[in-house]
């Protein structure tokens, strides 16, 4: 495994981001009898930025869980290529999957992002602290580094989750509803981070609800309603007919005012 050579430089070391590519083939995931996603095929190209859009219960979280290895496919396969290690993947869960009462400081929590390179037993390298601090600066939480995780507000906690993803420095980044329940300023800040990751060449997939945000900021879209309704360029994936098919829009009586499908340049 190639390590960065500029270890002693003042800047935190930034390695070459791998070209993570995810290929799904007829992916079906089920919890006992209930099929959550069915026969989804497609690929996340290296360096792509993809939104997953779908109604509640459409299987967005399940799909991210499957790619992250948290749930095994019933049928079909997931192939991840171009990454340096199995853990070269960062998954940002919905906030309620983490018990925030556990007494861990914000900085410690963020530094967990270095786990892939330390492992369960390895010694914590001193530079991890500075990497954690610079990640906290990037999300605007450096003042709260010593606070307990449970003292953060919802929006601050989401920022801390993003900071952990920054420290993970992974080729593939999966975000599950990262903007849900946070105010507009936080949402804007976090979206900028997502765009930065995209610009750095990471492969990013984000489950989200705000269609206007998807249209404005996400080049690719997977429209999911247990099956993949559409997967491709956002403008072609989010047509009114397909949104109706996905249960995200009422059948048309006239052109809906909020569904202007103008793509930004």
């Amino acid at each position: 495994m190639s390590e960065p050579s500029n270890r002693d430089a003042a800047e935190p070391p930034r390695r070459e981001v791998g070209h993570g590519c995810v290929t799904l083939r007829q992916l079906t995931v089920a919890y006992r009898e209930r099929i959550a996603i069915e026969a989804v095929s497609g690929a996340l190209a290296a360096g792509s930025l993809t939104a997953i859009v779908g109604a509640n219960g459409a299987g967005k979280t399940t799909l991210l869980h499957a790619i992250a290895g948290l749930v095994a496919p019933r049928h079909g396969s997931i192939e991840i290529s171009g990454t340096q290690a199995p853990a070269d993947l960062a998954y940002l869960p919905q906030s309620d999957s983490i018990d925030r009462d556990f007494p861990i400081s914000v900085l410690e929590f963020v530094a967990l992002g270095g786990w892939a390179r330390i492992g369960a037993l390895g010694r914590v390298p001193p530079e991890l602290r500075s990497r954690g601090m610079s990640a906290l600066q990037a999300v605007g939480l450096e003042e709260l580094a010593g606070d307990l995780l449970g003292q953060l507000s919802v929006g601050q906690f989401r920022r801390a989750l993003f900071a952990r993803v920054i420290v993970q420095d992974a080729a593939i980044v999966l975000l599950d509803e990262p903007f849900a329940g946070v105010d507009a300023a936080t949402s804007d800040d976090l979206l900028r981070l997502v765009q930065r990751w995209h610009a750095e060449g990471r492969t990013v997939m984000v489950a989200l609800h705000d269609l206007e945000q998807v249209l404005a900021s996400f080049p690719e879209t997977l429209l999911l309603a247990r099956k993949a309704i559409a997967w491709g360029a956002t403008a072609t994936a989010l047509t009114p007919e397909k949104l109706v098919e996905a249960g995200l829009a009422a059948p048309p009586r006239g052109p809906g005012p909020r569904l202007r499908l103008a793509m930004p340049s």
């Binding site: 992250a68 948290l70 853990a87 018990d99 556990f102």
Partner: protein, 288 residues
Amino acid sequence: MNLWSTLVAPFAEYAFMRSALVACMALAVAGGPLGTLLLLRRMGLVGDVLSHAVMPGAAIGFALAGSALSVLSTGGLLTGIAVVLLMIFGTRLGAQREDASLAAFYFASIGVGILIVSLRGTNLDLMHVLLGTVLAIDVPALVLIVTIASVVVAVLALIFRPIAIQSFDPAFLRTMGGSDSAYRAIFLVLVVLNLVAGFQAFGTLLAGVPLLLPAAAARCWAQRIGPLVGLSVGFGMAAGYAGLLVSYHLNVPSGPAIACAAALIYAVSALVPAGRTLVTAFNATRPT
């Protein structure tokens, strides 16, 4: 009666008091960190259920070989681990919600254990199994307790990080390639080991005392993990020492006396919110 004869002489004069004290200290050292983690994982009652899971095995050991410590402990360890495996695979198979199956284990263990001991032994034997005999701890028992406590502390020190993460963010551990259920199983086996050690001193009814009560009291005073562990070890030791003294001077059973001392520490801790604000005020003014 002076301070010396009240506080020190019982231990200076009697070897059984010294053995009991060492046993209580060892149980406090291992029980502090384990109990703290149990409570942080919201698994306090699981610890209680596991302490009863030790009982049927110990009872079978008693029926087969009398009160030989090695047999009792091995039996208790085996049923304890069996229940841990059932808990992990049972909830994975999804037969029942965890709390439902735990309630079933709890009563089944007590019922079966008491039946088996009653078939072969006297009421006194039953009392020993239920409440333990901390004053009758001999050298082999002491060696067993201290060994278990050392193993628990060593293993916890080694894998504290994954166990802590498994407690609050298991999905992260799994995306990093760690095994969620393996660490959960290791942790629960450590709990069972500690309960097997505590069983000899406290019996199945009270084996959870050095594990849970000091850790519960510590949570009233501290928020961070280091102080939590340190305080629970300290409280556990204090309860052991005070309980043994009370038991000696008032001629009452020692296990329940230690349990009452620990409960008193908890009650005082829970009733002194000023202490909590003191600690948090100190933390808040600390420069970061």
